[in-house]
Symmetry: C2
Subunit: 417 residues, 2 copies
Amino acid sequence: MARIVMKFGGTSVANIERIKNVARHVKREVDAGNEVAVVVSAMAGKTNELVGWTREASPMHDAREYDVVVASGEQVTAGLLAITLQSMGINARSWLGWQIPIETDNAHGAARITKIDGSQLIQRFKEGQVAVIAGFQGIGPDKRITTLGRGGSDTSAVAIAAAVKADRCDIYTDVDGVYTTDPRIDPKARRLPKVAFEEMLEMASLGAKVLQVRSVELAMVHKVRTFVRSSFEDPDAPGMGDPINPPGTLICDEDEIVEQQVVTGIAFAKEEAQISLRRLADRPGISAAIFGPLAEEHVNVDMIVQNISEDGSKTDMTFTVPATDIDKAVATLEANKKEIGFDVIQSETDLAKVSIIGIGMRSHAGVAATAFKALAEKGINIRAITTSEIKISILIDNAYTELAVRTLHTVYGLDKG
Amino acid sequence: MARIVMKFGGTSVANIERIKNVARHVKREVDAGNEVAVVVSAMAGKTNELVGWTREASPMHDAREYDVVVASGEQVTAGLLAITLQSMGINARSWLGWQIPIETDNAHGAARITKIDGSQLIQRFKEGQVAVIAGFQGIGPDKRITTLGRGGSDTSAVAIAAAVKADRCDIYTDVDGVYTTDPRIDPKARRLPKVAFEEMLEMASLGAKVLQVRSVELAMVHKVRTFVRSSFEDPDAPGMGDPINPPGTLICDEDEIVEQQVVTGIAFAKEEAQISLRRLADRPGISAAIFGPLAEEHVNVDMIVQNISEDGSKTDMTFTVPATDIDKAVATLEANKKEIGFDVIQSETDLAKVSIIGIGMRSHAGVAATAFKALAEKGINIRAITTSEIKISILIDNAYTELAVRTLHTVYGLDKG
């Protein structure tokens, strides 16, 4: 017997037929004698509809009222899944954020969970009841409904798993796990049986989009063993109920990964843009003068490279922003030209960032050199490089993205498994 | 300055454009210096969609989970109206049933309000804030969401008006008041300036459908002056903000109606059916033997007429049920034939009930005789009659409904005003 949190996203509960399929996944775990909490998102498309209405009502809407409107989507799914489970003879009830309660801070629209009291849920587990929990929502200090921001149901699930000390948290989604790279780019991509939390963090923030970044951070802090698996497989297919190795990818502590690969995956982000500020005075506070105004305008700055000029008195600063933010970024910098004191501003779009990720590279030299050599052999020009302990990111022309991903996937032995 | 509760139904908030129109009605009252609470229904069609999903999930759904799903409709409207009001510079916030709280009993799906704490709302009025309240919902003793049954938002509005001691409760709907009869049947129908609570109760239960019966009962008990008025008129048209006589019909205590008419209106209900049980033993408990089983099957029995048979030893029992329930009613009676002990069962459909309503008839003789004479002159056969202090109901063939309504409307002087 285990205590399991199961989370189903919007496409998995898009209509009643799919909700019935979700109920079969839940029944499988209940029949195996497990204690189960299920966290659900809004039916696919519903959140967009609700958000659209709030914008139509007023583009400058109050985030507290936005939360009231948008949180209703998960409420509907929770009730419908509880009804469906009951019709299959399973003792189930729905829980809304304020009923558990899932306490959050006051940042309506993007609230952070501050405390979850798991005692009521645990009591109901002992009575044999399945908890069906509306994801994405909580209750703020002012006793009003809050939402956790897009994708917040993943965070709800992991936080609840931590609060009830679940043995694992199964995130059911429309893919069957985490891959070495995007299979649409490289058909040789393979599903990874295990990924370390740190690696998953890099993959999620780089657009691998399987799990919300905050949910992975939370899982890492609380050491919640998290499976990414498919909701679209037959719930009763062989192995689906395997308590140790269910099909999917386990996101876990690195200690649990016995045979550490040097490189785990190749991620990428298209539609990047680059900005270079030339001949800046190399003085203390120059970074703050540049990036402060950009942060105020909510421009998400990524790879930052600073070079000293030839005579050592001036410096060049180069960094990337999402292509959609390039105009805003340049305008903001021009408006602050005097304070920053740059000579020339240059910008370029149609770039892509390709990243090599692997916890194993901490103890291996030459990982970066292998990439540079492989890309050079394909004639791919590297425009910028940033590295961290477990990641190497390389900025290239957008047009070479697929070639670069496949080249790196092969050179690090990911094709073979 | 007055304290006003305004209620808007589903068609009045069917889309964002209409919600903006509702906001203009609210702004008019706020600008006049009034303290305002607004009660809203779900956007037209939403409740049906949500109810449909619960049935699709399971025809035998748990009423507690049904409430979780269905209450979301009003939640969405409340948030959207609050956003819209804020965009017009009005200080407004939404309130859900559990936040006020609106306490109810545990009868999920058809809960009754047990207590409303108006103190938070009154405090906010004093701070100049408009309360936008999700109608139709409350919180049960188990701290779960309850709903009040179809049309329950009217009841929410009246109950809140009573709780905050409002000067009046304006029910905005798709008609501009209560009429002497249905204008689609008789173009000479006139809007009534005032209707007594008791009269409105009879009209509502007879299918005049403007106000939910329970809301009128509640208004009567708490003496809440209730206006029925149109949400589709221009919010800023002359007279719309009249604090004493806004356009519409005032439902009020009979003392407030100075010139009492003998007859106030002619109501009707089509699609009635009649059942007659012949030659019953006239013994104590015979009514219970007949109507007990029907009540258990939720058959709504209406006009009941009992005749003694010629020799005095036997009796005939005749009563009406909605035509949609006739098969269920007959089957139930046949199943209980032995206990009831009737000889023959006869049933007939295609009947209609026409009712003459007026508080003034309490002090006037001959009101019924006038109706019988007028209908006889038109060759309309009367199949059954029941009377109360303020109502005379007559059962006739469906085909004569319109003729009977127009004839009675004229004979009681309602054409002229």
